[in-house]
Amino acid sequence: MKIVVTVKLVPDPNAEKRIDPQTKRLVRTGVETVLNPYDEYALEAALQLKERAGGDSRVTVFSMSPEPLRETLRKALAMGADDALLLADAGLEGSDVWATAYAIAAALRKLEFDLLIVGGLTDDSSTGAVPGALAEHLGLPCVTNARKIEVVDGGLQVERETDVGYQNVRAPLPALLTTALTFGEPRYASLKGIMGAKKKTIATTTVGELALELPVGTAGSKTELRSFAPPPPRGKGRTVEAADGISGAQAIFDFLQEKKLV
């Protein structure tokens, strides 16, 4: 079974986020970056499926970036992926969701796979629209938010989380899956994995090589960021020491009445 996992490097969620006032883009250099947490779950799912399927199963990681950020892929390779493809091209700078999905789909067409696993959201921009867009571009059935995945009779049997519970879904391969955060904790890279990752291949491609019909980057985007600002600050509020239950409750109740919430 051949599995492709898409991964992205995102700013450390605990770090201060900054947008360059000139380019209006998120500053990604000089900021601690991590593998998008959602993608680690996608990779964990792929590695488990590979282990279960055995044989000549392979996991390829794919990433797209305006800059050649190989660390993302190196970490994924250290976790156990077999090889990697990186679409790195300065021409991708400023791509919105539409242009991003268009470029990723074109690059993925160069890979052969039975299953494409994508993180459910990205930690930095969180539109959640890329998985659906990729499925549409590639003509794949799309099962999102999977928490249990099995391959049965050459097809997928998936338990996926919904807003109110779960669904059991059956779909043929090839298919696109996204993983839920309840799938199971992603593994840590072992020392052996980290050493081994250095020898694994990271192939690269460029926008030019994809021979796209439509532009990507800022020119190919269908949205335009006009302005951004931090939200109005929420000042530190009042603190009340409650000697007992009744006085604590009364303090909250009075406050809610003052705010006209009760």
Binding site: P37, A133, V164, A171, K222, S227, F228, A242, G248, A249
Partner: protein
């Protein structure tokens, strides 16, 4: 973009509140664009919901009760939405920013060659251009993003961002022609669990518990009665979900849900950044904590330092007396 089309998400005819919010907002935007406001309702129970939508200010509601919508995963929904969008012509499509909403929107941008702005909380029209305000990076920044001029544009809209108001003179209900297509991703079983009577993202009040509660029982015995008295829902921090005290669909924060209720009450939650990003845009934040130095003090409007196990039941009694209900 001239008209506005709302995807009316529902579950077997049980409406999501966000549908009425979008129907109301659609009218306002359509008037500014000089177009009409429409909605699409699909699947089992669609006709019933279309009737409910007649009391909202829409021009027409497109309906299909094709059973494929309930039997297969979202592809039929995308097909019918595409058909409706192409019937009405150039339009802004409003889709709830929910799990299914995001999946549908992703597919639809490719079908319609449309730009998308996600998690929108405000829509403005300036010289015929559609501008969307949305928080990014867990609320650390608020962005103003334009949909470039095109036939179609999509906004996934945050539940509770807009108020629902009835009005209009009764929308026409139009049945969409049945599509003769075959689908492959089959829903074999659809199960509700976790007894979430009210979707967390749509609740006007959220009472959330964390590590300080010490176990699963207080979520039912302590938080549930307070949430019910307020007409709201119970949520949890990641610590509580990781400990297995509550199902993950109640988790609020970076790796869980983002909520923006009018009132957020955090009980025994320290307020780590991972939790903060999921709730900091709430209207009013009240925290009950044993520790006056907990990080949540920095972004609460009121912090009560004390014993939650004694305070919450008393507070519930006080609120029950005035029948507090924020909805």
């Amino acid at each position: 973009m001239k008209h506005v089309l709302v995807f009316a998400e529902h579950r077997q005819g049980k409406t999501r509140k966000v549908t009425f919010e979008l129907a109301t907002e659609a009218r306002r935007i359509a008037d500014q664009l000089g177009g009409k406001a429409f909605a699409v309702v699909l699947g089992s129970g669609a006709k019933q919901l279309a009737d409910e939508l007649k009391s909202y200010p829409l021009d027409a509601v497109y309906v299909s009760d094709d059973s494929a919508v309930d039997q297969f995963l979202l592809e039929p929904v995308v097909d019918y939405l595409e058909a409706a969008a192409k019937t009405i012509g150039p339009s802004l499509i409003l889709i709830p920013n929910t799990l299914s909403g995001r999946d549908v929107a992703g597919r639809l941008i490719v079908r319609l060659g449309a730009g998308i702005v996600a998690d929108v909380v405000e829509v403005n029209v300036e010289d015929g251009a559609v501008l969307c305000i949305s928080p990014k990076l867990g609320g650390a920044l608020v962005t103003d993003c334009a949909l470039r001029p095109a036939e179609y544009g999509i906004a996934t809209v945050r539940p509770s961002a807009f108020a629902a108001a009835r009005g209009g003179s009764g929308a026409t209900v139009i049945t969409l022609e049945k599509l003769a297509k075959s689908y492959v991703a089959a829903i074999e079983q659809d199960v509700e669990e976790g007894a979430t009577e009210m979707a967390l993202e749509e609740a006007p009040a959220v009472v959330a518990g964390g590590r300080g509660l010490g176990g699963p029982e207080p979520f039912d015995t302590l938080l549930k009665p307070l949430a019910t008295a307020l007409g709201g829902a119970v949520g949890a921090s990641r610590a509580a979900a990781d400990a297995g005290w509550v199902p993950y669909n109640l988790q609020i924060g970076q790796t869980g849900k983002t909520v923006t209720p009018k009132l957020y009450i955090a009980v025994g939650i320290s307020g780590a950044i991972q939790h903060k990003v999921g709730m900091r845009a709430s209207g009013t934040i009240v925290a009950i904590n044993k520790d006056a130095a907990a990080p949540i003090a920095e972004f609460s409007d009121l912090l009560v330092v004390g014993d939650a196990f004694r305070i919450v039941p008393e507070l519930t009694k006080l609120i029950e007396k005035v029948k507090g209900n924020l909805s």
